[in-house]
């Protein structure tokens, strides 16, 4: 049954994600600047960057194949789908039947494969290096992310994100140590997946350390704009997954407009807090050597597995 309010919620949510994502990135950067006693680039800087990039002419390497050209669109589309199935404002999303939590991980993986292929496509050294590192991180982060989502799914008895969030939001207050562990694990995975410190530094172009930036060095103009936008969207989607699983309070559950009006400010507030926290984490921690990243993600995986174990053993 597709209800009208559901469709409205779905559309609003998607639009909100696409439009707000660069703002979240801007907010994180701004907070980071403040914490480091800098004046900061301003909240709207990502929007300006995207607009500027769209206005430019694209330069593409002569030996680039179709993969290189299509990759930004694929990646952006993947992030759109992901944004569509993660409940942010309401839980009755008609589109959520399209993909569950496991498929969500698959969608992220698809985006990763495409961007890595594109990075290797032109054949520069940096591209391959970045792709290799990205795959290593992905290969370690995905199982951890899956475990986190499994824990939430086990608690709510469903792998569909919308249902999970709905049940978690409706549950009466109880202490779930497993969710706490999963939350920490999820935070670690998010840091790695979104190329944040301590795993990667979004602001560096130092060849020894960069991962994500190394892959997109060859891109320019609208392709780069899409990739940047997709990156913002990814951060937004990850934040929303975290928020809706671990802090689902305030999300609207039915089609009632009042709940909707309540959910929007709640979401904005939670995102603002989350972004600020991310900035704090990035400020207080130092970038790890790349060889330490497996250990970092291994710990995340451990925590997620522990969460799963604890749920299975303590909370049933």
């Amino acid at each position: 049954m597709i209800s009208w309010s559901g469709v409205v919620a779905q559309v609003t949510e998607l639009a909100l994600a696409v439009l707000l994502a660069p703002l979240l990135t801007g907010w994180v950067n701004q907070c980071r600047a403040w914490l480091q006693n800098k004046s900061g680039p301003g909240l709207l800087r990502p929007y300006r960057t995207i607009r500027k990039l769209f206005a430019k002419d694209a330069v593409i390497a002569t030996n680039a194949s179709a993969v290189f050209r299509t990759a930004p669109y694929v990646v952006f589309a993947c992030m759109l789908v992901a944004a569509a199935i993660v409940p942010t404002l309401a839980t009755d999303l008609p589109f959520s039947i399209a993909a569950d939590a496991i498929a969500l991980v698959g969608i992220f993986a698809l985006a990763r494969v495409f961007i890595s292929l594109a990075a290797m496509d032109v054949g520069t050294a940096f591209g391959s290096l970045g792709a290799r590192r990205e795959m290593m991180i992905g290969f370690l982060a995905e199982p951890a992310l899956l475990m986190v989502l499994f824990t939430a799914s086990l608690i709510s008895q469903s792998t569909s994100l919308a249902t999970t969030v709905e049940r978690l939001a409706r549950m009466e207050f109880a202490i779930f140590p497993s969710l706490a562990f999963a939350g920490v694990a999820f935070t670690m995975v998010s840091l790695a997946e979104n190329a944040r410190i301590p795993v990667d530094n979004p602001a560096t172009h130092l060849e020894l350390t960069m991962i994500h930036e190394a892959m997109v060095l060859e891109y320019s103009a609208r392709h780069l704009a899409l990739i940047e936008w997709a990156a913002s969207l990814k951060l937004f989607v990850y934040s929303c997954i975290g928020i809706s699983i671990f802090f689902p309070f305030g999300i609207s559950q039915g089609g009632d407009p009042l709940g909707f009006a309540y959910a929007l400010p709640a979401l904005v507030f939670k995102l603002a807090v989350g972004g600020a926290l991310l900035a704090v984490i990035e400020t207080v921690s130092a970038k790890m050597r790349i060889f330490r990243a497996p250990e970092f993600l291994g710990t995340a995986f451990m925590l997620a597995v522990l969460a799963l174990l604890i749920h299975a053993l303590l909370e049933t």
């Binding site: 202490i175 140590p177 291994g298 053993l313 303590l314």
Partner: protein, 221 residues
């Protein structure tokens, strides 16, 4: 007064944190952080014992919470810190097996101990299902840490962490052992650490290092 279900959840939370700390110890490379983790485990023990004392109204548990705090949060970490400073040991803990492998073995141990404890927990009325399993898991994880570390100090911390796990089992499963026994155990632990301290100096005097790999000469030919 809090409800029984909520009390169970709190105990579960403590149990989960115990397990987390046990794993953190397993993963920790630096000796000083290891001591901090040990002290934190002691603190969790104190809190959980105090909580059980509060919910069950068993007065002797307040005492044992007090002893735990004095011994495991204050005294033993202090002694260990002093030892490390006086012995001037290297800060890094070298493992014999790399850490991810150790962690994987650790997970297997957790599952194993839950299976061992399951039949007991099903009969025991006092405990929530998993705490005994978690206590046993902490014991085994500490044991694993002792096996995989090649330096003397981490081995001792493993030994003490093992005792923490046992203490947690006693509190969670049986609301604590009788006072005499708990005092005796505390005394044993304290004396044990003091003797080990003496022993460290003897080892270092003899080998100029606290690496136990020096202590592997006695073998069957």
């Amino acid at each position: 007064m809090i409800t029984a279900a909520f009390a169970n959840q709190i105990i579960n939370l403590f149990a989960a944190v115990m397990l987390l700390l046990a794993f953190a110890m397993l993963a920790q490379r630096r000796v000083l952080s290891l001591i901090d983790l040990f002290a934190m485990q002691g603190l969790v023990l104190t809190l959980s014992t105090g909580f059980v004392a509060y919910t069950t109204g068993q007065t002797h548990l307040w005492f044992s919470a007090g002893i735990t705090f004095a011994l495991k949060v204050v005294l033993l970490p202090w002694i260990l810190y002093r030892l490390i400073r006086q012995l001037d040991v290297k800060w890094d803990v070298e493992g014999l097996i790399n850490i991810p492998t150790t962690m994987l073995i650790g997970i297997v141990l957790v599952i194993l101990s839950f299976n061992v404890a399951l039949p007991i927990s099903q009969i025991a009325g006092t405990i929530t299902k998993g705490t005994l399993g978690i206590a046993l898991a902490s014991v085994l994880l500490a044991f694993l840490m002792m096996i995989t570390r090649s330096k003397a100090v981490p081995q001792v911390i493993g030994f003490l962490a093992m005792e923490n796990g046992l203490f947690f089992a006693a509190t969670a499963a049986t609301y604590g052992m009788p006072m005499v026994v708990e005092l005796g155990i505390a005394l044993d632990v304290l004396v044990g650490v003091v003797i080990l301290g003496v022993f460290f100096f003897q080892i270092r005097e003899r080998f100029d290092s606290l690496d136990i790999r020096h202590l592997e000469k006695l073998k069957e030919e």
